[in-house]
């Protein structure tokens, strides 16, 4: 094949590189010989049928879950030596309620032995650059759901991660909060250009946020397609009426439907 005719996606230097990944749960195979390349500095959303292994995949990519065989490299190194930011679906079960919001955000710095003054400085800097106003002196359970998820996102960002993983970060939030936190996440991405991988169960959202949409099949899970969507940021909900948005979403939906009928 002539190099110039290859899809743009394949030309990018992969930052997250997965080869021959195997994972099964008690005899039930979810991944077998799974390969994946994800580019640096892009926001990739993962979409696929329920139970296809989206969470399992990002848990393995982030080093939270062991796999049976294969390699996962981030920036050319083993996952275990990479700095990872991870935002869980359930903020209530992932934040530390015995700490104030500020101590939660500081925690990744504290475990690395960063002195107190430096930690404060870093957090103030984060809040300012994303224009987030939050009363960090409160306990987390005193904050609204959206604010708690923001605390979780700040906590994932504070130690300057190489990759930010988010597992359905909006699914425990009401619609208004979803819009707000989604906007803040876009701001974060624009400001930092951080390689980001976000699982979504909402196709519209997956396209809206993405530079790349990773469409997964039913288990044993394959990559159906890594779809590029390069519309400029910041994006507003108006782009959902844009022809490219509609076409991309339709394309993903067609693939998804075909996959469900297999």
């Amino acid at each position: 094949m002539i190099a110039g005719l290859e899809p743009t996606v394949a030309l990018e230097e992969p930052f997250i590189r997965v080869r021959g990944l195997d994972k099964s749960f008690g005899g039930r195979t979810v991944f077998a010989g799974f390969d994946l390349d994800l580019p640096r500095g892009k926001l990739t959303t993962i979409f696929g049928p329920n139970g296809c292994g989206k969470s399992t995949l990002i848990n393995m990519l982030s080093g939270l879950l062991r796999f049976d065989a294969g390699d996962v490299e981030i920036g050319g190194r083993d996952v275990r030596s990479a700095r990872i930011g991870y935002v869980f679906q359930n903020y209530r079960e992932s934040l530390f309620p015995w700490m104030r919001a500020r101590e939660n955000v500081e925690y990744p710095l504290r475990v690395r032995g960063v002195p107190r003054a430096k930690r404060r400085e870093r957090i103030d800097e984060l809040l300012a650059s994303f224009e987030i106003t939050l009363d960090l002196s409160r306990h987390t359970y005193e904050l609204s759901g959206g604010q708690q998820q923001l605390v979780a996102i700040l906590r994932a960002l504070v130690a300057d991660p190489e990759v930010l993983f988010l597992d359905e970060p909006f699914s425990a939030l009401d619609y208004e909060m979803t819009l707000y936190v989604r906007d803040k996440l876009q701001t974060v991405f624009l400001e930092t250009g951080l390689t980001t991988v976000l699982v979504s169960h909402d196709l519209e959202e997956a396209v809206y946020l993405a530079d790349r949409i990773l469409l997964l099949s039913k288990p044993p899970t394959r990559v159906v397609e890594l779809i590029a969507y390069d519309t400029l940021r910041p994006r507003t909900t108006e782009i959902m009426a844009d022809a490219r948005f509609v076409a991309t979403k339709q394309h993903a939906l067609d693939l998804f439907r075909a996959e469900m009928q297999r």
Binding site: L64, S94, W98
Partner: protein, 270 residues
């Protein structure tokens, strides 16, 4: 007609609001007062002979007098001291032991049956065994109560650690926490609510066992001794008064622990 019906409709509501305040304040007192009234009624009706059941007034008056002028206060002090010593032993050994066992599921599995078995064995059934080993000393009463507290506290702390939310542990790990940091910053806190359940049960049990031990392990001091003595020489007023004092001590210990609990574990249930 409309105008005429309205005040009538409003009247019950008004009456209710007028009543609500004083009734609300008095509610907690109603039960005890009713109890005292029933007690008095039983006495007045001569259902029970007065040698077996003195009047509530006589009992309470005797209690106050015995506390202020008699030896009741020093007996209560002895019982409380034994209870607190037993509790302190059980808690100081039990919490670290439970947390250590709980953080290693394999080790816990191997001793789970033992702990469950002895936890389910009535501590009073072990009194003769403790007499064999410790004699009828003061240390014995503390030892057997301390042993019971130890089992309860160990069991609860271990469970608290084992049932820690997996997500929080994962979150700490992905943020780069070492296993020591995960233990100190997450597991310990996750186990606190359950540990406190253990401590509260522990202090109640300590009092129960100390009082029983004071009755049956040769003793010349303490509320348990006083209660059994009151029964045997038919000083029933002293017996009832001692029972009430023991009850007050148990209640106060419980209140203190509940206050500490809600202040310390502010996130519990949130």
């Amino acid at each position: 007609m409309n105008v005429a019906t309205r005040p009538a409709e409003r009247a019950p509501a008004l009456a209710a609001t007028r009543l609500r305040l004083p009734v609300g304040v008095l509610l907690p007192v109603i039960g005890p007062l009713a109890f005292l009234a029933l007690w008095q009624a039983v006495c007045s009706a001569h259902v029970v002979r007065e040698v077996l059941l003195p009047t509530p007034f006589a009992t309470l008056a005797y209690m106050v007098d015995a506390l202020v002028h008699g030896t009741m206060a020093s007996d209560a002090f002895v019982t409380v001291t034994r209870t607190l010593l037993a509790f302190a032993f059980g808690a100081i050994v039990g919490v670290p032991l439970g947390v250590a066992l709980g953080s290693n599921a394999r080790v816990y599995r191997s001793v789970e049956f033992l702990i469950d078995f002895f936890r389910s064995t009535p501590a009073s059934a072990l009194i003769p065994l403790f007499i064999l080993f410790f004699g009828i000393s003061d240390a014995n009463k503390i030892a057997i109560a301390g042993f019971s507290v130890l089992l309860i506290v160990t069991f609860n702390s271990a469970y608290g650690v084992m049932n820690a939310r997996k997500t929080r542990i994962l979150a700490a790990k992905v943020m780069g926490a070492s296993s020591v940091q995960v233990f100190r910053d997450v597991l310990l806190y996750e186990s606190l609510p359950q540990t406190f359940v253990g401590l509260r049960n522990g202090i109640s049990t300590a009092l129960v066992i100390v009082v029983v031990a004071e009755m049956f392990i040769g003793s010349d001091q303490g509320l348990g001794h006083r209660i059994i003595e009151g029964e045997q020489v038919l000083q029933v007023t002293d017996m009832y008064a001692s029972i009430i004092v023991a009850g007050i001590i148990g209640y106060l210990l419980n209140v203190v622990f509940m206050l500490i609990d809600t202040r310390l574990i502010h996130w519990s249930g949130k």
